[in-house]
Subunit: 552 residues, 2 copies
């Protein structure tokens, strides 16, 4: 048997886009063909940008962090220049549309799956930096769906050029997962605009010194709003108004966090900020959730990126660190840790590409099945890939031994940075409930059964795991029919099982496409890691009894 | 069914010592009986010390950290006073012997299992602080076995009083897990003492401003030493010599670490330091490893302590944080996370008590079976409990949602502090190899088979898991017979399976002792968490194939 091969993230991404999720055929069917060479060239260029421009300042960014003083946030000293490089590279425009409502926006209109690949590379290089453009991309996506032609013309071109950033303003102190509890209010000013007043917390890149302007997308209540989550509207408000005045928006402080130190997490204070309604009154939550699905996928990609960075650091260390007369990479338990990191990182990477390619298929070809596939995979990618990101960051520390705990090595920073991803854009618990109570329940499991059926026939071990997962699916559906609480008590285990099974599916597909490069890694995963899905299945079957133990 | 009950760590510890591992009967058989009331009173006093004296400065200690300047290390400003409280409480003497070689040492001679309970409470309150006394205890233990009467008389009384601390000096830049590669040398000075010269790294509490003197226990080579691990001797050298002169020992710097910021991790430079040989020439490694077994158990307890602190913070937060109209502790997925944390923390706690009670049984009653039990359980406690400590610290962050990532809440500090425990005192990979290649192999699995047999008959699910684990044991023994590498490729999975199975055994015993308080928690563990052992077993059976994939 050949050993697990080492390939770079960029190689894996180009391979995955081309040979596993079939982007050349998809783009050809959509009338804008991208060849394998085109894809490899764009990925290589993004990889160069990430390695040469973003990565070198990564540890300095962590040490310096974002600094708040009197309403102003200073990012690390190299960030404004790096952000100009990001603008000049035109990266933000990659997957944005070329035009909307007849207005030229400046986007390149490339597939979302390609954008995901670019994001992974930049997130791995410095997640704190990458988060700004990531959230701007989410805001662009939302505005493409809900902005009026005038709003699109005013806001989208500078955002797609990255001269403006976008900031998502959802959370309030009393309203975290429960957005229905939010209190920020918007009062009509009589000229078609609104005055927004309230306090938002945990606003990523809410204030910084990189972009020339920021568009805030804010959830708030109109005066006549019904209570709860059906009375929330969405507003857009720029930091600087068209006439150059500063809007009534300021940063009240930033959080001292475990990681992503250079990404300012802001308290934002809105004091009669001039804002425009985006979309329909009281329909802000559905609009925001559509954007969040996109952002959730991006956070899943962030999990993959942290695993990839952890792996790159650990492999480099293990290759040069000699103990017992050998590079430690050759010690069986260290080799085992590296193989686990490599296998789950590749599985997550391919799963995220599969999900975003489904998004492309839905958007470009109007494929309704692909739309359902995207909806189903999004919470799995978000939660499973971010869990693996944390786990792989921790394994990366372990490979380093004592040096892993010393900040100088960088491995510890990966874990500190990675730990946010299971929390934001909907905690992983919320993702599990979304998978079970919404995505599974809404078609009584039809899309999931279709996915399971499609995954069969590649590998005997995988087939057995799919069989067990199919039983778990029926068990969860039955639990959901009895009681939402019972299903929720097993939701996290169910999502985790889904991740292990479909991660195995992706690796089996990679092996089928290139056995020489990916066969051993797929084999390792299917023999060694896939049994974890069965353990989760056993947990799910205990769901009802467990709920009784939890609730008393 | 009744719900999972909440009990404090101190309650669990008193219960575990008395009702699960049977300390009253053990001490009675040894002729120095401790009643249930005695045990509960000592644990409650330690709990008060930990909560009232140690815990309040915990976050300040993290923020301030240890500070190095010109060879001097300043700990957080409250540490010297807190250390005086530690001395005045007489805690260090708890399990130290009253006399040795006819010399009165000042120890109280209480059981090691009781000392473990005290350590857990102090480690949970502030691990950085607790590490000093923890390492001093290891040094005391080592000297009790290997010091000459003169050394014992000079060094042990002030260490047992905690006026002196002990520091273990093993690692060098090129010699981490592979201590055979160390280069520090010791040259006879002609008067029976030695001059030690070399550089040691990662020396916990190597230099600080708390204790009045420090005894360094140093691994070094004599001039005539054979190469490798058979040529290493052990030396003792105080920071200040008996005549008050400063010895040739200084701190060259401290590491900037992910966590335990207030515990100085020192580079120590020995420049012809005056030292005495401890034990026999060239027999330093076996002496140090005897001490390390003790320290390894203590690090396992540290893992339990981090889980306990994470749980206490998470339960307090979840009880008061309201979302969707309810304290989040009542949401099924949050309740599930809290129950996992509580179940694995208690399992680890009881397993650590079982191991240290076995040590007491061996020492006080000369029970050879107990000695084998201790040897078998030590790597399991060290590795499994520290893995669970990291996992529970991470779950604790997750329960807090966004606040978990903000340092103010404390949950992030628990994870940052917890992450070192799987690394030091022998990485968890080293523990797994110790379990498989030494502890299991040396009696061809006899002690393990005896333990499995003893654990049977309490619970049907547990019996099934034990059955699977017995098969895994035979598989690992067979692999070991074929090739050490093959066994090592499965060692981590085997150790993890052992932890899950024997953790379940401890909870089944807790249920048998008090079903009202621990029945639901045991049930939760056996239904929901025990399946993880089977997944690990499946991995082990793939060992040979996996090794081929790793090695090529």
């Amino acid at each position: 048997m050949t050993a697990v091969a080492t390939t770079t993230a960029a190689e894996d991404l180009a391979f995955g886009l081309t040979r596993v999720v079939g982007l050349p055929a998809l783009t050809e069917a959509a009338g804008a063909p991208l060849s394998a060479e085109d894809i490899a060239a764009i990925v290589a260029e993004a990889d160069r940008f990430a390695r040469e421009k973003v990565a070198p300042g990564w540890q300095e960014a962590d040490r310096h962090g974002a600094v708040y003083e009197n309403g102003v946030v200073r990012t690390p000293s190299h960030y404004p220049g790096l952000y100009r490089d990001w603008i000049e590279g035109g990266w933000q425009s990659l997957a944005a549309p070329a035009e909307l409502h007849g207005v030229a926006l400046g986007g390149q209109g490339l597939p979302g799956a390609l954008w995901n690949a670019v994001q992974e590379l930049v997130l791995a290089a410095d997640a704190s930096f990458a988060l700004g453009p990531l959230l701007t991309a989410g805001a662009i996506d939302l505005l493409c769906h809900h902005a009026t032609p005038a709003q699109a013309a005013a806001w989208l071109p500078p955002m797609i050029a990255a001269r403006w950033s976008g900031a998502m303003c959802l959370t309030e102190p009393q309203a975290g997962s429960d957005l229905g509890a939010l209190r920020t209010r918007a009062v009509p000013r009589g000229d078609g605009t609104y005055a927004v007043t309230g306090q938002k917390i945990f606003i990523t890149w809410g204030e910084q010194d990189c972009s020339e302007n920021t568009l805030y997308l804010i959830l708030a209540r109109l005066p006549d709003a019904p209570p709860g989550s059906r009375g929330i509207s969405l507003f857009g408000a720029p930091k600087f108004l068209p006439d150059g005045r500063r809007n009534g928006i300021r940063c009240g402080g930033i959080e001292r966090k475990m990681g992503i130190h250079a990404s300012p997490t802001c308290v934002m204070l809105f004091e009669e900020a001039e804002a425009e309604l985006v979309g329909q009154p009281h329909r802000g939550l559905p609009a925001m959730f559509a954007m969040m699905n996109n952002a959730r996928l991006a956070v899943g990609v962030q999990g993959v990126a942290h695993g990839a960075r952890a792996l790159a650091l650990a492999e480099a260390y293990a290759a040069q660190r000699v103990q017992f007369g050998t590079p430690i990479a050759r010690l069986p338990d260290v080799a085992r840790m590296l193989a686990e990191m490599r296998a789950t990182t590749l599985a997550g990477r391919l799963l995220a590409l599969e999900a975003s390619a489904a998004g492309d298929r839905a958007r470009l070809l109007g494929d309704a099945g692909a739309e359902a596939r995207l909806a189903l995979l999004t919470p799995i990618v978000k939660a499973w890939c971010t869990e693996r990101g944390v786990e792989n960051a921790s394994l990366g520390i372990q490979v380093h031994g004592g040096m892993g705990f010393v900040e100088e090595a960088g491995a510890a920073q990966v874990l500190r940075d990675a730990r946010i991803a299971p929390i934001y854009e909907g905690t992983n618990g919320i993702q599990a409930i979304d998978l079970v109570s919404r995505k599974l329940a809404r078609d009584e499991g039809a899309a999931m059964r279709a996915l399971i059926a499609e995954a069969r026939g590649l590998d005997a071990r995988l087939d057995a795991a799919l069989e067990g997962f199919a039983r778990a699916t029926e068990a969860v559906l039955a639990a959901q029919a009895r009681s939402a609480d019972e299903a929720q008590a097993s939701a996290a285990a169910y999502l985790d099982a889904a991740g292990w099974v479909f991660g195995g599916w992706m690796l089996a597909r990679a092996r089928a496409a290139d056995a020489a490069r990916y066969g051993a890694l797929a084999e390792f995963y299917l023999r060694r890691l896939l049994p974890r899905a069965a353990a989760r299945g056993a947990e799910i079957e205990e769901g009802g009894a467990v709920l009784a133990l939890l609730a008393g």
